[in-house]
Symmetry: C2
Subunit: 187 residues, 2 copies
């Protein structure tokens, strides 16, 4: 039946996202995915002809969901503090209890050796989240006496702080560390 197809494809995407966030792109194999989902590796190739194809689709889906969770900047928080809180909250819940990295963060770290389309999708995550932050901040009182460059720099530094915080929290095995960084974001 047709819903089986979509279910297998979805399961593969879910597991691929989880495993890449845990081990990185080079730390995931088709057989890991196949055995985890309960099919053979040739079935994974049926949905995703190449690993590059799979990686790019996982990254695209991740970014789409992330921006969906952020919501429309025109209809979001109106203070800089609340905007930053929203972004921070998404990263904290992404790190979760099992210390999973941001998918595009780990892809970006590995990017020098990754297939082109995967890098393009990882880059797109930062472009889009950065744009969301810039648009959101632009609507606030905080932005009144600040230039476009200052606002963009603030958006970028918030993202950098959160990505770096995830990395450190993970290696220290201390998810609470990311929470600690919150006061550094609100200025």
């Amino acid at each position: 039946m047709s819903w089986n197809a979509a279910e297998t494809e979805g399961k593969i995407l879910d597991l691929a996202e989880s495993l890449i966030r845990k081990n990185g792109y080079n730390g995931v194999s088709f057989r890991d995915l196949a055995s985890g989902v309960g099919v053979k590796s040739s079935s994974v190739h049926y949905y995703f002809p190449t690993k590059e194809d799979l990686g790019a689709k996982v990254a695209r889906r991740y970014t789409d969901r992330f921006l969906n969770a952020l919501g429309d900047p025109q209809d979001g928080p109106v203070t800089a503090s609340e905007i930053v809180k929203k972004l921070h909250g998404l990263f904290v819940s992404a790190l979760g209890s099992d210390g999973q990295m941001c998918l595009c963060g780990i892809l970006a770290a590995e990017s020098a050796g990754l297939p082109e389309s995967v890098v393009t999708e990882a880059k797109s995550f930062f472009d889009r989240v950065s744009e969301w932050m810039t648009l959101s901040l632009s609507r606030t009182e905080w932005a009144r006496n600040r230039s476009e460059e200052e606002i963009k720099a603030e958006a970028l530094s918030a993202l950098a702080l959160l990505e770096g915080g995830m990395i450190i929290a993970r290696v220290q095995n201390d998810p609470a560390l990311l929470t600690t960084l919150r006061p550094q974001l609100a200025r």
Copy 2:
């Protein structure tokens, strides 16, 4: 002759560091190292019996050099701004013109799937640099009316901002981006 041994071992460590920073731990093979250095892979195993052994030694050497470049906190800059500038400068020169990641940053990102001793060494980098920052900042005027926790949080957030900045600079293919973040460090 004996100096040949040291030379080969050093070349392997140099190349391993460079390749891990580019592709991550899982993106480097013994044959990559061997061909790059001009020996056979069995010779690489002669110096480093296992990949874990090699990874741990590369990380340890990287951290030792990094702290050596930072210098003795008792004998360093005395203003918070200069301390932050020194750390920032090291990261900027590490990123360099070819966009290489911080070795322990990429190892930390991959850490969930890495051998134990490699993770231990990556963790040690953040412990030691964080301690350097905390000790250095504690000696400044800036620290006078601040608690131990506040100082540690500042050290940690500076590190997080720089690691995250490297990641984003790399995927955006824009090393200057890390320079942009500098004003966010000085408070």
